[in-house]
């Protein structure tokens, strides 16, 4: 772990996580910790298992062995995650996919308010107010009523970030966020993530963009170094 000089309460702890798909071993005993206020870059070459790690933390993929603790919520390897445990996990983890996966049939605003209203029972007006605040803070308030196909790549990414933050998760994960950004947009994103990684929130970014990680991350985790520790 490079530059891990700030010690704060851990919001995410990954202990000895193994993921196998048939005979192929994708993650082999990965362990690391992400603390509150951190902007952590999870690095590794393509196919090294970065996305699988994020998906396992978000319970989108099963992991076979090990332990993942998200803001005090414990997930055990080899056990199905469902019911109340899954519901609590969804409130703790936000995930921004590499290709954003905004809901094509809903405007940017409705993409952001969908989960607060329907999954968490927030009043419609409150959810809309909060969504507009998020869009304003991300600099795209004027695009609130645009459909995803009408947004640029950078705008779509910011809407996806706002959607993930709308339920105020203590950890926000982003998968390859700089993959399709030009240098100027990459810098804007880095500065934005720095602003967001404060207080009780941590951000974990999977990337193979060394320059971005060195410039903006508070911690850099190299997946190859994390295996089997």
């Amino acid at each position: 772990m490079e530059g891990a000089d700030t010690v704060s309460a851990p919001v995410l702890e990954v202990r000895d996580v193994h993921v196998c798909r048939g005979a192929r071993r994708i993650l082999n005993g990965v362990s690391f910790v992400v603390s509150k206020g951190g902007l952590v870059a999870l690095m590794g070459p393509s196919g090294s298992g970065k996305t699988t790690m994020l998906r396992a933390i978000a319970a989108l993929e099963r992991f076979d062995e090990g332990l993942i603790i998200v803001d005090g919520l414990m997930l055990e390897g080899g056990r199905a995650i469902h019911g109340e445990l899954l519901r609590q996990l969804r409130r703790r983890v936000g995930l921004v996919f590499q290709f954003h996966h905004l809901f094509e049939h809903l405007s940017a605003l409705k993409n952001i308010t969908l989960a607060p209203i329907h999954a968490h029972g927030t009043a419609v007006d409150d959810a809309a107010t909060r969504a507009l605040e998020l869009l304003r803070s991300l600099g795209i308030e004027q695009r609130a009523h645009a459909l995803p196909r009408e947004l640029s790549g950078g705008e779509a990414q910011r809407v996806a970030i706002a959607r993930a933050l709308a339920v105020e998760p203590p950890i926000l994960m982003m998968d390859e966020p700089t993959a399709s950004l030009d240098p100027a947009r990459r810098t804007e994103l880095g500065e934005l993530l720095r602003r967001l990684a404060t207080g009780d929130r941590a951000i974990l970014v999977s990337t193979h963009d060394e320059e971005f990680a060195r410039e903006f991350a508070t911690d850099i985790l190299r997946l190859d170094d994390l295996q089997g520790q």
Binding site: L60, V93, L114, V167
Partner: protein, 500 residues
């Protein structure tokens, strides 16, 4: 079935090939009939189903002998015999065909060979109270489509407030009478007496509603052939051949000698007597005829539209449930629903309609409209479900995972994300299906529902031509389907706009 194969081959010209090379007069007399009507007219011989029996079969032989020809049977559905003869599929139609003013105006009927009476048949329990048409106010009275009886009932709708119900065959009206779906049947005494002998619980009323005649029907251009046939019929009346045939089939009565005496004396015989104002539309100009039928065509179009809309709404609801079950259900649910879909797609909709209306009548006695609605909805639900299933599966996995990571339950993922996106994908094929359903709804006429195509057929039969009724019917179908397609396109465009 064997007869239909023979007929198909005949119509394709196989037997004709052996004689068409010669320039000599035809050696065969092609006569059209419908064995579905059964005895005593035309039916497959129970002992040898490849052969036909019935008094019309024997009269066809008698006419062929008179012309020095060999009779050759051509199967044609009863309601299409006129048009089939006119387009030269056969030389003459014989199948209990009625003499009408329309046929006299636009075709070449032979002289009558049998006089019948239109009679009412009722359930035994109604014998005392349902004696005449006037007694049937507010009640349903059944008959065979395209007959004088149907014309009489249409007149009685306005005069007495009865409800005329038309059937494609002469068996189901009596079955439905016994089942209570109709309160009476108006048909000729030959058919009525035959059914009374075969069924219990029904009575033929003694009163006569009208008097009509059976004739052979030839194309309008075949005047010379008709005269030759008339000579054969007169000869058979004189020498007793006709009487022997009719006695053999148990339909000879005192009305026939009186008819033959008038014909042999050269006296005119009106096509129908005993009912005021029962005339076809052929004596009217085409414009007058169209004006007269237009209100009933529009009413029938309303039935078609209502039936199609309700069936589609039901099919969509069922289709969504089936598709959801096939995507989300357990293995047993998926297997069961797949079986249902394959059953409905793999069997003819006509068969399904018959099973629902007639097959299940002992357990569930659905009214005709409800049976038609159920049949169309159940059939189309199978097709709709396949559209929705493929649309649900076409929604990208990333969309579903994004919804799940936000904390939406699987039900919410379906209703808020997957369903709405799938519905947009399904809209175009759904519109196609709705237009198809609009047209397929014509099949429900077999359940006595008078929809647009059926009403057009009645119009065409009475007019003696399909040109105006066909064009009018097509125009009405287009007037219904084009706005639907337009509405669907507008909806598609609207759904592409942002959802605020």
């Amino acid at each position: 079935m064997y007869l239909k194969v023979i007929t198909a081959l005949t119509l394709l010209g196989f037997p004709a090939a052996s004689v068409s090379s010669a320039s000599a007069p035809p050696r065969e007399l092609r006569w059209a009939g419908d064995p579905e009507g059964g005895a005593p007219f035309v039916q497959a011989n129970p002992a040898d189903p490849t052969r036909l029996t019935g008094f019309d079969v024997e009269i066809a032989s008698l006419l062929a002998r008179g012309l020095g020809r060999i009779p050759q049977f051509v199967f044609v559905q009863f309601t299409s015999i006129d048009q089939s003869v006119e387009r030269d599929d056969a030389d003459i139609g014989l199948s209990g065909i009625e003499d009408t003013p329309t046929r006299r105006a636009v075709m070449c009927p032979t002289i009558p060979y049998y006089e019948f009476r239109e009679v009412l048949t009722v359930r035994d329990s109604d014998v005392a109270r349902l004696r005449t048409l006037a007694d049937f106010a507010g009640r349903r009275v059944a008959t065979l489509a395209g007959t004088i009886a149907y014309e009489i009932l249409l007149r009685a709708e306005g005069r007495y407030g009865i409800q005329a119900v038309s059937y494609e065959d002469d068996v189901h009206p009596y079955e439905d009478l016994r089942l209570g779906r109709v309160d009476g049947v108006l048909l000729d005494n030959v058919l009525a007496e035959r059914r009374r002998r075969e069924m219990s619980g029904i009575t033929v009323q003694p009163g006569t509603v009208a008097v009509g005649h059976y004739v052979g029907i030839l194309a309008s251009r075949n005047g010379a052939l008709r005269e030759a046939m008339n000579e054969s019929l007169r000869a058979a009346m004189r020498d007793g051949s006709l009487e022997r045939i009719l006695r053999k089939w148990g339909v000879w009565n005192d009305d026939q000698p009186r008819l033959y005496a008038r014909l042999l004396a050269g006296k005119p015989v009106p096509p129908i007597s005993g009912v005021d104002g029962v005339i076809g539309v052929a004596t009217l100009t085409r414009w007058q005829a169209t004006r007269r039928y237009l209100p009933s065509l529009i009413r029938a179009a309303g039935v078609t539209l209502l039936l199609s809309c309700l069936s589609m709404a039901l099919a969509v609801c069922l289709g969504v449930l089936i598709a959801s079950g096939r995507v989300y259900g357990t293995a047993l649910v998926r297997l069961t629903l797949t079986g249902y879909v394959e059953l409905m797609r793999g069997t003819p909709i006509l068969l399904q309609l018959f099973v629902i209306y007639y097959g299940l009548a002992a357990a569930i006695r659905l009214p005709a409209f409800a049976a038609a609605l159920t049949g169309l909805a159940l059939n189309y639900a199978a097709y709709e479900s396949e559209i929705y299933r493929s649309a649900l599966e076409a929604v990208p996995v990333g969309q579903l995972e994004a919804a799940r990571t936000l904390g939406l339950s699987e039900r919410q993922v379906l209703t808020l994300v997957r369903g709405p996106q799938a519905f947009r994908l399904a809209l175009a094929p759904m519109t196609n299906d709705f237009v198809a359903l609009l047209k397929d709804s014509s099949l429900v006429s077999v359940l006595t529902v008078m929809e647009l195509t059926k009403q057009t057929q009645v119009f065409a039969t009475n007019l003696g031509s399909w040109v105006i009724p066909g064009l009018l019917c097509a125009a009405i179908y287009l007037a219904m389907s084009l706005p639907l397609a337009g509405a669907a396109r507008r909806l598609e465009r609207q759904w592409k706009a942002p959802t605020l």
